[in-house]
Symmetry: C2
């Protein structure tokens, strides 16, 4: 019996375990929460990530370990990797959990990013803003997610408030990119170097949280897909990466700018469960277990709408044709991702109406406390 | 939190729980085995089905209960139904677990079956064989599955050996039906009476065990599909049935003869996980929970091949395009269903080669001890 270890027991771990159970795999997750989403399918070791006794119990008998979010301490992943292989490499975790390290890594690879300047103290703000231009976004270096730890700076006079808002700690100031749209590329690379890509996904955020996606993104020239794959390939090769990797992208005048690296399965790839021959979750597991990577071919067009903050009435959702509900077994809380709905349609012109209807049915609320991002 | 109870924790319960977890459901199974396939996803109450103290623990807090195989004692299901709703009705369980009661029920509904005569003692065999003709099949009335409890009678002199072989207990002698092929119809009916059907599936058995299926069955006239739906509808209405119901069918000169009723999700419907808009497992759960029944539309053509007796090398299987592995976490044993593989193809003419290849890759062994069936 092959047991896969999951650092983190959130919805991504839950969907990994749901995808891997049919492959005959078993799962064990490490998560400090009392009843995280993955615990419905995976054995749950409840402990802090740096609890060494718990880590020893956690890794006992595991074949391979993966992580499901960036905020698992990279030092823990690196320590565990000396006992049981951790994929993707803990180096990807270390870099992607520090916005400055991530931007510097991308710059070193020659990958386009927004202009950025590190800011370690508020005195450095005016020079940083002068360098990147206004409006700018300040993002704290660590523990950001879903728009948390970010603030817009419209004006130099505004900078100190924003600095305090994101925690008054080391941050990166980025120039605002005037993008036509937000996209993401989902890549998967196996232990043999075999690499596949899903088609570009178009993403729509509000308050820094992904609200909805459509896949494949519409009106994508093959050159744009190629560009995205080439950028992802640079990152994959630099890290000898194994598993699913996602780049969050801005499209600017037909060119791509990388906003963020996610060294894991990603919300913008949830549509692959029904919309692709092999889901991102199954392909991540195939990759880290040294199995062949599955086809990333799509079936029709998929609309993905997140369920955020409150649980919807499921009946009208389930009445829609080829519409698939995924709830994460999480208690409702404003701004919290509780699930998602994927609808497959045969024709791209059906996407817009389906997204509008689904958004209405899931009653997405905005998070009034957050003023970051557009 | 809605908890669904499963009487039985085998692979059907496992796939029900895998399908229902994304809907936000939780599962609890009752099964006497130490670690049944469903226990990876469902809470497991380990006890005999007639252990009253365990049943009380099992039903505590359940929203609804279903059963996953016919050999759960019907009296237990009926007793439980007085506390928590059991779907499908325990009456369907009672009838389908007794071959004689099932045949008589079908005859009463005017549904065509093979000619049959009950035999309670070996002295009755000659008259029974004279009535149904030779060759005939003797099937014990209870606890049959996958060809177990059946024997062919080629000759009157052979009858006593066959009687002993199937257990020397009350049985049914059936006339052999010269069928063109074996089919099955998968129906689902909700609490409101809403009913949907999947397209007819073509099934291939060896030694009484399903080896492979293709779906939709090829060259099915709409009249044949209609006939199957009409026969299933009679059964559904007679029982005010809620859930998935499957009829195993013989096609004889363009007419359908019912071989068996399965009041549950069925092996010949496993392809619906990838090959239909909504799987039989999700639709069974939607039905018993009073939710809308999902679309039964298919995507392409599916080939389903069972993994029997020994576990295959998964790597060459996972290398095939749009091919999906499902292992049930069961210990290998001759003749035992350990998993299945579903491959989707775009064109029906690709099915035959894909089935042949998959059968080779899963190395299906025959069960040498069984001489029943063709």
């Amino acid at each position: 019996m092959t047991v896969v270890g999951l650092l983190g027991g959130g919805q991504l771990a839950r969907m990994l375990a749901l995808a891997g159970t049919p492959l005959g795999l078993r799962f064990r997750c490490l998560d400090p929460a009392p009843s995280p989403p993955a615990s419905a399918i995976a054995e749950h070791v409840r402990a802090a990530y740096d609890d060494h006794a718990a880590l020893t119990r956690f890794i006992d008998g595991l074949e391979v370990i993966t992580y499901e979010f960036e905020n698992v301490p990279a030092a823990v992943a690196a320590a565990v990797d000396r006992r049981v292989p951790v994929y993707p490499t803990p180096e990807a975790l270390r870099v992607s959990q520090d916005r400055l390290a991530e931007k510097e890594f991308l710059r070193w690879l020659g990958v386009p990013t927004a202009p950025f300047v590190p800011v370690d103290a508020p005195e450095a703000l005016p020079a940083a803003l002068a360098a990147v231009g206004l409006p700018a976004i300040i993002k704290r270096r660590r523990l950001g997610y879903d728009g948390v730890g970010q603030a817009v700076i419209a004006d130099v006079l505004d900078a100190h408030r924003a600095w305090i808002e994101v925690g008054g700690e080391p941050a990166v100031v980025e120039g605002r990119v005037s993008f036509a749209r937000e996209l993401s590329i989902i890549a998967v690379r196996g232990t043999s170097g075999e690499t596949r890509f899903y088609p570009l996904v178009e993403n729509h955020h509000t308050d820094g949280v992904l609200r909805w996606s459509i896949a494949p993104a519409l009106d994508v020239a093959s050159e744009l897909q190629h560009q995205a794959e080439e950028l992802a390939s640079r990152v994959l090769r630099a890290w000898s990466y194994v598993g699913v990797l996602v780049l969050e992208l801005f499209e600017v005048d037909g060119k791509l700018v990388v906003n963020e690296i996610a060294p894991r399965v990603h919300n913008s790839g949830h549509w692959t469960i029904e919309g692709a021959a092999t889901s991102q979750f199954e392909n991540h597991l195939r990759a880290i277990l040294g199995l062949p990577i599955g086809s990333t071919a799509v079936t029709g067009y998929s609309a993905l709408v997140n369920v955020i903050g409150t649980l919807p009435d499921v009946t009208p959702i389930l009445r829609l044709p080829d519409t698939h509900l995924h709830l994460y077994d999480k208690a409702p809380r404003p701004g919290r991702k509780l699930g998602h709905v994927t609808a497959r349609v045969a024709e791209p012109q059906l996407l817009e109406a389906r997204v509008a209807l689904l958004q209405q049915l899931v009653r997405q609320e905005r998070r009034p406390s957050c003023n970051a991002c557009s």
